[in-house]
């Protein structure tokens, strides 16, 4: 009894001290004279630090608004749940392809009113990056940092294969031929080095048909996954499975490490050519600084010379969720991020290109990516590819990923796989649009 009488107060004291201590450490200084704007951002690591630097600049630049920045994992879902619970943040940092789905679900607010009031206009941006923010005639988001893609290639592997490292492939046919020369197998027949693998890094499996001029839907209500250009694209993809052997490819790929790790297939010289975003340079510098590499526009199909200079564009966006307590102040912060000074600082810290149409000389000078002008130029190309703006895109892209896997495993022909996607997704799109109509949200 005496023991218990002694233990309980001690335990209580420990708990209280821990509570008091953690409160002291984690409590933010709350300035009651300012309006507090909460900002949820998906990034951690160096990207978060970049955003934090811009937020700090904004907080110092005036004395009316204070942005409280918080790094949130799975920010999309948490924002949705917070909106439905009536306690959303004032600003959320989402992904570009989220815009259509979130707009259809009325989870984010149209911003064109604020854009007019604060003088934000389309001509401030590279067209594709402004386009990502627009849906159904409304501006639902503004860019934070963008990206575009190009061919990264390993110059040493080119040299070893007797290829000129200053002459990257121009067409997909050249890419295949050069890839064949680079590809090597071990004594037991397993792949050792691959020239190119369409499944690496595997983030844009849906896009290969678009490279051949295909569309994934007609923009209104028809799924066009199985149109001939898309089939051609997937055929090109499947040829790699045939060339290397589907099982060999699977075994080879299972040995690759994560994208942001020293075991990345490009960094370990296991794959000589890859489609990657502007941000890849950071990983190279971080994990394999000695890698002898270069970047070039990604090759185009010989049959489609009009696709020369194509790239995939994407961007992180800032949105104001429905029910935000301080939408105007939130927009003032977003507007600040759109200023050339803040945006260039953010893009430099994120190691990406800028979404703005005008770029300062200082940005070019200070950017650490040796090919940054190439990525900027590709983003401005008229052949830039975007993921379709449709509310059911998460499900549709999942279907396309599955079709991609089926053809890489040689379980289906490209035509069969894409026919299946079309047959499966068309009723889903019909139902989706019908339900929006029943709610009176589309005509």
């Amino acid at each position: 009894m005496a023991k218990a009488g002694f233990t309980v107060p001690i335990l209580a004291a420990v708990v209280l001290t821990a509570w008091w201590g953690t409160e002291r450490i984690t409590r933010t200084v709350y300035d009651p004279t300012r309006i507090h704007v909460t900002y949820w951002e998906k990034w951690t690591g160096f990207e978060f630090q970049g955003i934090e630097a811009v937020v700090n600049d904004f907080n110092k630049s005036q004395n009316r608004i204070h942005v409280d920045l918080l790094s949130i994992s799975d920010v999309g879902n948490k924002t949705l749940l917070a909106v439905s619970g009536g306690v959303p943040p004032d600003v959320a940092g989402l992904w570009g392809p989220n815009v259509a789905q979130y707009a259809d679900d009325a989870a984010i607010q149209p911003l064109e009113g604020y854009c007019n009031e604060f003088g934000v206009k389309a001509s401030d941006y590279i067209p594709v990056y402004w386009d990502i923010c627009n849906y159904n005639g409304h501006v639902y988001a503004l860019p934070s940092t963008p990206a575009s893609t190009a061919l990264y290639y390993n110059r040493d592997l080119f040299q070893k294969a007797g290829l000129d490292p200053n002459k990257p492939p121009e067409t997909l046919e050249e890419l295949v031929a050069m890839g064949d020369r680079i590809t090597k197998r071990r004594s037991d027949g397993r792949l050792d080095v691959a020239g190119f693998l369409p499944a690496e890094p595997g983030w844009w499996n849906w896009a290969w048909g678009c490279v051949f001029g295909g569309r994934l839907w007609d923009g209104k209500g028809k799924i066009t996954a199985n149109e001939p250009e898309n089939v051609l694209g997937f055929q090109w993809v499947q040829d790699f499975a045939k060339r290397y052997g589907p099982e060999d490819v699977q075994v080879f790929q299972s040995g690759f490490g994560n994208y942001a790790s020293p075991e990345n297939a490009f960094l370990t010289s296991k794959v000589a050519m890859e489609l990657h975003g502007v941000y890849m340079n950071y990983n190279i510098k971080m994990y394999r600084p000695g890698l002898n590499w270069a970047a070039a526009p990604f090759p185009y199909p010989k049959s489609r010379p009009d696709m020369k200079g194509w790239a995939i564009a994407d961007e992180d966006v800032l949105v104001i969720p429905r029910g935000a307590k301080h939408p105007k102040e939130a927009f003032e912060f977003i507007r600040y991020v759109q200023s050339q000074k803040a945006m260039e600082k953010l893009c430099l810290l994120h190691r990406k290109n800028s979404p703005l149409s005008h770029i300062s000389d200082d940005f070019w000078r200070r950017h650490e990516h040796p090919y940054i002008r190439l990525f900027d130029q590709l983003a401005r190309s008229s052949k830039v590819i975007l993921s379709p703006k449709m509310g059911i895109w998460p499900e549709y892209s999942e279907e396309l990923n599955n079709a991609f896997e089926e053809i890489m495993l040689m379980r289906k022909t490209p035509q069969q796989a894409l026919d299946y996607v079309t047959t499966r997704m068309q009723p889903k799109l019909d139902q989706y649009l019908e339900r929006l109509r029943r709610r009176g949200e589309v005509k």
Binding site: L80, E247, G255
Partner: protein, 295 residues
């Protein structure tokens, strides 16, 4: 009679915290999900009544049937394997050998590992190129399968992995084994029963309630398999061979914002588990012994 009533009251009192928790925190969402399963609902807009459309769509949804097939196959193989291995290990650990406490700890330890760590760890064990398991198989000159990216081997890999957590069941079996009356075993021994006969006619019947409990928990666990395949096989890869029911339910709810559809899936799963559990109870009626007497 009085004793029985007292026992019932005690039982209800023990179950009370659970009842209170359920009615406070779960009753509303559970009831609401019945209604929502008949609605189009994205969480963000008010639910819109669509009648039985979600259920009808599900029955025409090929992927729904694929996930049922995947889950069923996994459960049919993983469950008996888990039960048999669990009983086998428990019997081994019930024998009188030196260092028993050490062995018991060793077999229980893996089940303490969090599911996420487990998935990440086994990704490397199963790695087709230079994973530990395949390196070992190659040493034995056995053709090493591509566990993670061959649709034929992905489910067996998960079944193998599920055995990693068998320690929990082993502890329960072990407790059951220690309850087997020694006098019965001694009587059987005096009658000249062999080791197998003792196991078959004394140990297993006495252990049967524990086996039934583990089978029912196994049915629930295997049908709801989620965390490990969700991490190891994104999107149910390769070619949806590991796309399980709960993964499709999760995707519908939290990726596609189709909460109504997901709620319908949830209720179908609940009914399936209920039916299977009742079936297991019915089938086992004649084979399960409580306190040495047939029920």
């Amino acid at each position: 009679m009085k004793e029985r009533r007292k026992g019932k009251i005690a039982g209800l009192l023990f179950a009370c915290p659970w009842f209170v928790g359920l009615s406070l925190f779960m009753a509303y969402p559970v009831c609401a999900s019945v209604y929502l399963s008949f609605c189009e609902y994205s969480v963000l807009k008010p639910p819109m009544w669509v009648g039985t459309e979600n259920y009808r769509d599900l029955f025409h949804d090929e992927l729904f049937w694929t996930t049922i097939k995947n889950t069923g196959l996994y459960a049919i193989v993983a469950l008996p394997f888990g039960v048999l291995l669990g009983i086998f290990l428990a019997m081994m650990l019930n024998s009188k050998v030196r260092g028993l406490a050490f062995y018991r700890t060793i077999f229980f330890l893996p089940s303490l590992l969090p599911q996420v760590s487990l998935a990440v760890l086994w990704l490397w064990v199963f790695n087709g190129d230079d994973g530990v398991l395949n390196e070992f198989l190659r040493m034995l000159h056995i053709t090493a399968p591509n566990w993670l990216s061959d649709p034929a081997w992905s489910k067996p890999a998960l079944v193998l992995l599920s055995l990693w957590g068998v320690g929990n069941a082993v502890v329960i079996y072990l407790a059951g084994l220690q309850d087997v009356p020694v006098q019965l075993l001694e009587a059987a021994e005096l009658d000249g029963a062999s080791a197998w006969a003792k196991t078959r006619h004394v140990t297993l019947p006495m252990l049967s309630p524990v086996i039934l409990f583990n089978v029912i928990m196994g049915i629930i666990g295997t049908l709801q398999v989620f965390t490990v395949p969700y991490i190891m096989f994104p999107g149910g890869s390769p070619a949806r061979s590991t796309y399980f029911y709960t993964m499709y339910l999760f995707d519908n709810a939290f990726r596609y914002n189709k909460m109504g559809y997901a709620a319908a899936m949830g209720w179908i799963m609940f009914l399936a588990i209920l039916v299977l559990t009742l079936f297991a109870l019915k089938v086992s009626e004649r084979h399960v012994y409580y306190g040495g007497e047939a029920k």
